[in-house]
Amino acid sequence: MRRFLPYGLLLPVLLMVGLLVFSLLDGLLQSLGYFPAAGLNNFTLSYYKAVLGDSTLHGSLAYSLYLALVSALLSTLGGIGLSALLLRCKKPDSWLFRLPIAMPHAVVAFFAIILLSQTGLFSRLAAALMGMEEPGAFPLLVQDKAGFGVIFAYVFKQIPYVMSVVILLMRRVSGTYTEAARTLGASPRRAFFSVTLPLCMPAVSTAFIIIFAYAFGAYELPFLLGATLPRALPVQANMEFLSPDLRHRPYAMVYNSLMLLFGVLFIALYLAAFKKLTGDNKAVKS
């Protein structure tokens, strides 16, 4: 009886997440051409061939990978930097720096608009300080091809998250190992880069993967702040999904399945990083 207790406790979670995973199989079948509701009954790879050969997909995929990579890189770098700055402060987790965690993405998107757009604050400052004559002279930083606005919004929101993951570990490490390195004659810089940072790396890499996966697959920010050409992958996938022609659905599901494939890769990477994190944590504690 006692043997089954954990499964009983887990049953509601398994039911909820299990239903989610199970329902994804539906989309997979549709992407393979099996969609009886639209009169499609034959399994085929032709939808995959069509989508994979389409330059729209290539552009969207490249744009989304780029947005995710730059956002995750800048967020982790910023989070590490701020954690290092706040390490010696009396109140390292000040509420102000954690505020963005509680801000909805749509609001952060609005921040990007009122700061970075051609009639935003920076454009007005450029007019006041450098005599810029019209809003159009200000570079396009929102809904632009370089994804400046999207990246700004993700970084704004994710730096505090990286800090929340890193700062506790960094504090524990600095009190012991970094101190030891300093006593043995390492410069502060050397101690940080050769001791503190490597010991925090596993936590940083799990955060990196989570941010990357989120920025790769989320809809709101690229929808509000992204370019129309190329469209970010989530926005393009949703457009395919919204097509009123049911016979177009398998194409949409190919987009979905490709995104899920990336998701499976993210999970595998995360599990590998997490294993390292728990292993190292034990080492730091003992």
């Binding site: 608009i113 009122i114 700061l115 998250y161 992958l233």
Partner: protein, 263 residues
């Protein structure tokens, strides 16, 4: 130098917040003026009518229900993961990563198919359930960390002194977990309250939440109303988060920071 950098970082957060207030009450604010030329609250009164307020209240209620449901489901799961060894534990942990690491746009489509099959698509119930699924992993992770540090020792002592399983749980473990349960529910509320796209897909535009009202203004470029909605949005989210999110940090030494993995 350090102080200056920290000051600049703080400014990065306070500056846009300050601009929200200015925009919300600005009358005319043409480019390139740095400050509004006039102030007006007329449109605010027009917008904040009874129907907006009722959407806001219902939205708060449904986000709270999502968070509560997620916490109630996550708590026993966290206990199982933290306190027992059993075959399949690693698979379950991997499964729990799905709502965090799978591209959300893709699995929202899966959820939509699921709720269509269950026949509850476009209902508030479906929206509450879907939000709970999205929140779930954060609850399980945080509560697993806390359960790990609380352990079963005290509860077993109570049992050996003659307490029934139920009263040992209710009088020993639950009070120890309460701060974490409150914090996790607050975090879940914040995540649910900010969801726009998921609500659109599952609610089909018929379930109106506060995010559904706010985003069209931001998308359409109406800065005054966007600012007003954003202010209310941030006020409620950040208010709940700072009131209840910090409870946990004060109660457990070295507990994982609440908001770990929060998006």
């Amino acid at each position: 130098m350090k102080k200056l950098l920290l000051f600049l970082c703080g400014l990065c957060i306070l500056l846009p917040l300050g601009m929200l207030v200015l925009y919300a009450f600005a009358g005319r604010w043409p480019w390139p003026a740095l400050f509004p030329e006039s102030f007006s609250a007329a449109r605010l009164y027009d917008t904040l009518d009874g129907s907006t307020l009722s959407v806001l209240l219902r939205s708060i209620g449904s986000s709270f229900l999502s968070a509560l449901l997620s916490t109630l489901v996550a708590a026993p799961a966290a206990r199982a993961i933290a306190c027992y060894h059993f075959p399949g534990k690693r698979i379950i942990r991997a499964l729990l990563l799905a709502p965090v690491l799978l591209p959300s746009t893709a699995y929202f489509v899966g959820l939509q198919t699921l709720f269509t099959r269950l026949g509850i698509i476009d209902t508030t119930l479906a929206v509450i359930l879907s939000h709970a699924i999205v929140i779930l992993p954060y609850g399980v992770w945080t509560l697993t960390d806390v359960m790990n540090s609380v352990g079963l020792g005290l509860e077993e002592q109570a049992r050996s002194l003659g307490a029934s399983p139920f009263s040992a749980l209710a009088t020993v473990t639950l009070p120890l977990l309460l701060p974490a349960l409150v914090s996790v529910t607050a975090l879940g509320f914040v995540i649910s309250f900010g969801q726009y796209f998921l609500t659109l897909m599952i609610g089909g535009g018929r379930v109106r939440t506060f995010a559904m009202l706010a985003v069209p203004y931001i998308q359409g470029g109406d800065r005054q109303l966007s600012a007003l909605y954003s202010l209310i949005f941030v006020g409620i989210s950040a208010g709940i988060y700072s009131l209840f999110g910090g409870i946990m940090a004060r109660h457990y030494k070295d507990a994982a920071a609440i908001g770990k993995g929060a998006m």
